[in-house]
């Protein structure tokens, strides 16, 4: 499999890049680490005329912190996030999620956090070679009208398997986007469309510049299940965040003021589960039964989004593991924090 032909552009600053995007729009694709983009191009899933590399762009690689937020440049590589004490201390779930991405080579060498969030949704019926796909009718994501993952689907249910996005949504992150002459900030949870064909609300001439994580008092955790220990997308994952009500009270005696439960690798986007999250408000941190109940609600709600589109497990197993991942994430978030306090 070879890359299709394209023109390679390498702007040295953001301004130039935005100008290029404004001109080429849909004909261009941004290349960060390329660990998602190039694989898809080799499979013939997209053939941009222009590939705009972020290689020479120095502006978008950083991890900063002020009183309210952590700010991560979109081009920051995964390994730098794993190494950052700011992230480990204030956004633990993201640290854990990044450790799980791909393999050391992907984390160190190329993969970026922006690319991680913006990697395309996946489906075993779609992420195949051009020859494989040409042997049958095109599915929704391929420009057709059928779906191989769910018989009656009127749209594409391909799955967002980003580890980073799931953790970031649990941490209530926001995204900064820029296009020529315009900037905007959007909640990550509002960044997704309801169709797997084009999963993100981003314009063709827009670029993701920054990820903003609000610093909140609380504990977070990320848990994921996969077949292997590396080079493996999640079968299911869960990111959770729990905010205590009282200050300076140990967790086991504290009450949950606010919870965020997010399930990944099941839906078209990471799924923020509001009723499961809301259920935990006012519950005690040591209330295992409440955690179980919340995990069950999460499983019931998230399952409806899942379709059978990964090869290694059945849909039933995948869905039943939602409970496990959410529950383990909640439980371990509290345990870990108690240990740290000791």
């Amino acid at each position: 499999m070879r890359l299709p032909r394209f023109e390679y552009l390498k702007p040295e600053n953001l301004n130039k890049l935005l100008q290029m995007l404004a001109i080429y729009k849909n004909d261009a694709k941004i290349l960060a680490g390329g660990t998602d983009l190039l694989v898809r191009m080799k499979k013939g899933l997209l053939k941009p005329k222009f590939v705009i590399s972020l290689k020479d762009l120095k502006e978008l690689s950083y991890i900063k912190q002020n009183n309210e937020n952590i700010k991560i440049g979109a081009k920051t590589c995964i390994a730098d996030i794993i190494d950052s004490n700011i992230i480990k201390n204030k956004a633990y779930a993201l640290f854990q999620a990044c450790q799980k991405i791909g393999a050391a080579t992907i984390q160190h060498y190329k993969g970026t956090i922006g690319g991680n969030i913006l990697q395309d949704n996946r489906c075993i019926h779609y992420n195949q070679s051009a020859f494989h796909r040409s042997g049958r009718g095109a599915c929704h994501k391929d420009g057709g009208k059928i779906c191989y993952a769910r018989d009656d689907a009127d749209r594409c249910f391909s799955t967002c398997q980003s580890d980073g996005a799931t953790a970031l949504m649990a941490l209530d992150a926001k995204l900064s986007l820029a296009k020529k002459g315009k900037k905007r900030t959007i909640n990550l949870a509002d960044f997704y469309t309801s169709d797997g064909i084009i999963p993100f609300i981003i314009e063709p001439d827009e670029i993701l510049t920054e990820i903003i994580i609000p610093i909140k008092d609380g504990v977070s955790f990320y848990k994921r299940l996969s077949c292997r220990s590396s080079i493996d997308y999640p079968i299911v994952s869960a990111g959770v965040f729990l905010k205590p009500l009282q200050k300076n009270v140990p967790l086991e005696k504290n009450t949950i003021d606010n919870a965020r439960i997010v399930v990944g690798a099941i839906g078209r986007s990471p799924l923020f589960l509001s009723s499961a999250s809301l259920f935990l408000k006012g519950k005690k941190f040591n209330d295992i039964n409440a955690f179980k109940k919340a995990s069950n609600i999460a499983m019931d709600n998230a399952s409806t989004f899942a379709v059978h589109n990964i090869g290694s497990t059945t849909l039933e197993y995948r869905c039943s593991m939602i409970f496990q991942m959410v529950f383990q994430a909640l439980e371990q978030a509290v345990n870990l924090n108690q240990e740290n306090q000791k």
Binding site: M1, R2, A103, I124, Q128, S129, F131, H132, S134, G135, L225, C227, R228, S229, S230, I231, D232, Y233, G311, S312, T313, T314, Y317, S320, M321, Q324, Q328
Partner: protein, 763 residues
């Protein structure tokens, strides 16, 4: 044998640095003047009639030199063990990997483009993907001319009286087991470069484990093309992994030959990873029905096995794996009454092929899982039942295998000791063991099981050795060099091993059946001994000493020192001796040839016969824990004890065992080529769950040396055994940990969890 200088030393692989520096020449690296690039077009259906093929647009594309379809393939050009597989299919396709057209062009890009311009009209036919269903009368036929989907192969044996023994057994366990498709995952993908000289003699560079048999296949191919009495030269580049995948000749090689002949230019075909997954063969999936019995004392009374093997749409050597499955079935442990019957069945799936262990892992999975169940039923300890029935040196098994050396008992002791080191029973933690028998001294599958070697020495004391044996990464180069160096008192640096070219190297049946160290090793030893004799004769004259007083060591010939201490022994450096021999009137240079054909037997009509001169044994033990919430298995400890006769090179030996175990772990836990109605759905390493470095575990690999009297310096084969008993050891440990028995590979978390659920419902 204690004072060996080179044999028994952990010398790193001779070509390791070359490979690490990127200088080894793989098939990918070969580039010849005027070379064209070939590409193959595959079927879009599992089963369909080809109504029409239009190649005119492809032919018109600039840069295209030839387009081939089934029409262009000589009628008699058929591949495989059953000769049912033309390299390009003409009227009908029977699987997704069926070749329907091929092109040769100036660049791979043009070739690919040309493929996309070929228009084919198909009429889809109903496919059959389940071998048991394919055996039913009304099932569609994969090959109409064959009249049945069941291959006419003779896999059937019955020794003793199974029915009587069953009646007399105190305990019997009957079970069904299943294994699935897995694939070799060689790091180096397949490929070949073919070219003809002006007299229509063929040279083919190809990744093969069987240069001599491949030569025979290609000669046959030439004859089918009307090219009689031609020469075929097979050149084997550095191979990036074989594992059985290169034990046959394939469509891409035949297509390269046809394209090269048509264009009169060298043609290169290289697979990309996707093609490697989709268009190379897998291990056979097996459905296994097994019954074993024992008496009150735990003595095995009988073993009765029936198997259905998914042959896929065509037949390669893989269809003969039942002949190797017979080995564990008749001869793993002492059991007098055995019956076995296997059917290979055509389906519209991919066709299977040889893979490390050659059927043994499938059979051993069933036997060793079932044996644990039998032990439990009989109330006998799992390890004890294995001791009661273990093979012993001197045994002749029901199939007529003569067990010369046997370290099974020592392997069991070793594994037991390791597993019991920390015997506190923890929740959800369990241990399991499983044993293996495998051919360790050649395997007479073919008419000859031999290997030829030519050895020559130069004026500087250096040796060139031309062996028929094949190194494909497993280390035959080292083994050959170490054996020859040891015998001639040289260092490995003095030995150059050439193993890559049928124009230069003598015949060998191939790198399979864990036979190379034993057979090619004995061949090298034989040639070295011949040369040594000549050296000694000459040296005895020069040093004026009796031959029996001479020693070859450190590149020197010494006279054994019988005199006073202070006088250095008489000696002559070997290079000096060689020059003396060369540069004297009537001079001579030292050369020797040797053909070693082991004293093993072809199996007779009833499949009896001592297939191998000696047999390898081993026992694997594993400790693992099962996560009851997710079903995930985590391995805590792994011991692989192998009776290897002698470790010629302990470093490479460990490498073989580690690699075997990790391959076995994938087979047991994660690997499966997923097929959806015959179509491969996971043709990449992301979705094919090969173990990664992070998944690999620490393996203890104690070596049991039994010093086999037939082996070179006592060695037996170890290439395959490492992956044979892994899956049953794991299945047995899972049962020990959480009380569920998984009978269907791979043992995914999902299967474990489902079994746990079912168990809790029953309780």
């Amino acid at each position: 044998m204690s004072n060996l200088n080179v044999v028994g030393k952990p010398i790193p692989k001779l070509d390791a640095a070359q490979k690490a520096l990127g200088r080894a020449q793989y098939i990918q690296d070969i580039k010849l003047p005027e070379m064209l690039y070939g590409k193959i077009l595959y079927s879009k259906f599992a089963h369909a009639k080809i109504i029409n093929i239009n190649t005119s647009k492809a032919e018109k594309l600039s840069g295209v030199y030839a387009v081939l379809t089934g029409k262009d393939v000589p009628k008699k050009m058929k591949m495989g063990f059953y000769k049912d597989n033309p390299p390009i299919k003409k009227d009908k396709v029977c699987s997704f990997r069926d070749e329907v057209a091929a092109v040769a062009a100036l660049s791979p890009e043009i070739a690919e483009k040309a493929l996309s311009l070929i228009e084919i009209e198909y009429k889809e036919l109903k496919g059959i993907f389940d071998p048991e269903k394919a055996m039913e009368k009304e099932s569609p036929l994969v090959h109409e001319y064959h009249k049945s989907n069941v291959l006419k192969l003779p896999w059937k044996l019955h020794y003793g009286d199974v029915e009587k023994a069953e009646k007399e057994s105190d305990f019997i366990v009957k079970e069904k087991f299943k294994t699935t498709w897995v694939t070799h995952c060689c790091l180096g993908t397949s490929g070949a470069v073919a070219l003809f000289d002006s007299n229509d003699n063929l040279t083919i560079h190809t990744n093969t484990q069987i240069p001599s048999l491949a030569q025979k296949d290609f000669l046959e191919a030439l004859r089918s093309m009307g090219l009689e009495n031609k020469r075929v030269r097979v050149i084997k580049p550095t191979i990036g992994g074989g594992f059985g995948s290169k034990l046959d000749t394939y469509a891409y090689e035949h297509i390269a030959i046809l394209l090269a002949h048509k264009t009169r230019k060298p043609v290169k075909i290289i697979f990309d990873r996707k093609e490697e997954f989709k268009a190379t063969s897998t291990r056979q999936p097996a459905i296994i029905y097994i019954k074993q019995g024992c008496n009150k004392d735990g003595k095995l009374t009988f073993r009765d096995i029936k198997m259905v093997l998914d042959n896929g749409a065509y037949t390669s050597w893989g269809a003969t794996t039942p002949s190797v499955m017979m080995m564990p079935i008749t001869s793993l442990y002492r059991v007098e009454n055995v019956r076995y019957k296997a059917k290979c069945v055509y389906t519209n799936n991919t066709y299977s092929q040889a893979m490390r262990g050659y059927g043994n892992p499938q059979a051993t999975f069933a036997i060793e899982s079932n044996l644990d169940m039998l032990a439990q039923k009989a109330g006998i300890d799992r390890i004890e039942i294995r001791r009661i029935n273990q093979n012993q040196p001197g045994d002749i098994t029901p199939q007529g295998f003569k067990i010369s050396s046997c370290g099974l008992s020592k392997c069991i002791d070793k594994v037991e000791k390791e597993l019991k080191k920390d015997c506190k029973k923890q929740e959800n933690v369990g241990t399991g063991i499983a044993s293996l028998i495998h051919v360790g001294g050649g395997a007479r599958i073919y008419k000859s099981d031999g290997c030829g070697v030519i050895l020559k020495m130069d004026d500087y004391g250096k040796v060139d050795i031309f062996t028929g044996g094949t190194d494909m990464g497993q280390g035959l180069d080292n083994i050959t060099a170490q054996i020859v160096a040891e015998e001639l008192g040289l260092f490995v640096e003095d030995i150059n091993v050439v193993h890559s070219d049928t124009d230069i190297c003598p015949w060998d049946v191939g790198a399979h059946a864990s036979r190379s160290t034993f057979v090619a090793g004995n061949a090298a030893l034989g040639a070295a001994q011949k040369i040594k004799e000549k050296i000694l004769k000459f040296a005895s004259k020069i040093l004026d000493a009796s031959i029996k007083d001479l020693i070859l060591r450190d590149r020197t010939i010494f006279v054994k020192d019988n005199s006073e201490k202070n006088i250095p022994p008489k000696s002559i450096a070997i290079d000096k001796l060689l020059r003396k021999a060369h540069f004297s009137p009537n001079g001579t240079m030292l050369m020797a040839d040797y053909f070693y054909d082991p004293d093993n037997e072809n199996m007779g009509k009833d499949f009896k016969g001592n297939m191998s001169v000696t047999y390898a044994f081993g026992v694997h033990g594993v400790k693992l824990t099962v996560d009851k919430e997710t079903g995930k298995v985590e391995i805590l400890d792994y011991i692989a004890a192998h009776d290897v006769g002698r470790a010629i090179n302990p470093l490479l030996l460990e490498g073989q065992v580690y690699g075997g175990v990790v391959m076995g772990l994938g087979y047991a836990l994660t690997e499966e080529v997923m097929h959806k109605n015959g179509e491969n759905m996971n043709a990449d390493f992301r979705d094919y769950k090969l173990f990664t470095a992070k998944d690999a575990i620490k393996i203890k690999a104690p070596v049991i040396e039994t010093n086999d009297k037939y082996g070179p310096f006592g060695a037996k084969g170890i290439g395959e055994p490492g992956c044979v008993p892994t899956a049953p050891a794991i299945a047995n440990a899972i049962y020990d940990a959480v009380g569920v028995r998984i009978k269907d590979l791979p043992i995914t978390p999902e299967k474990v969890l489902a079994a746990l659920k079912e168990k809790s419902l029953q309780e």
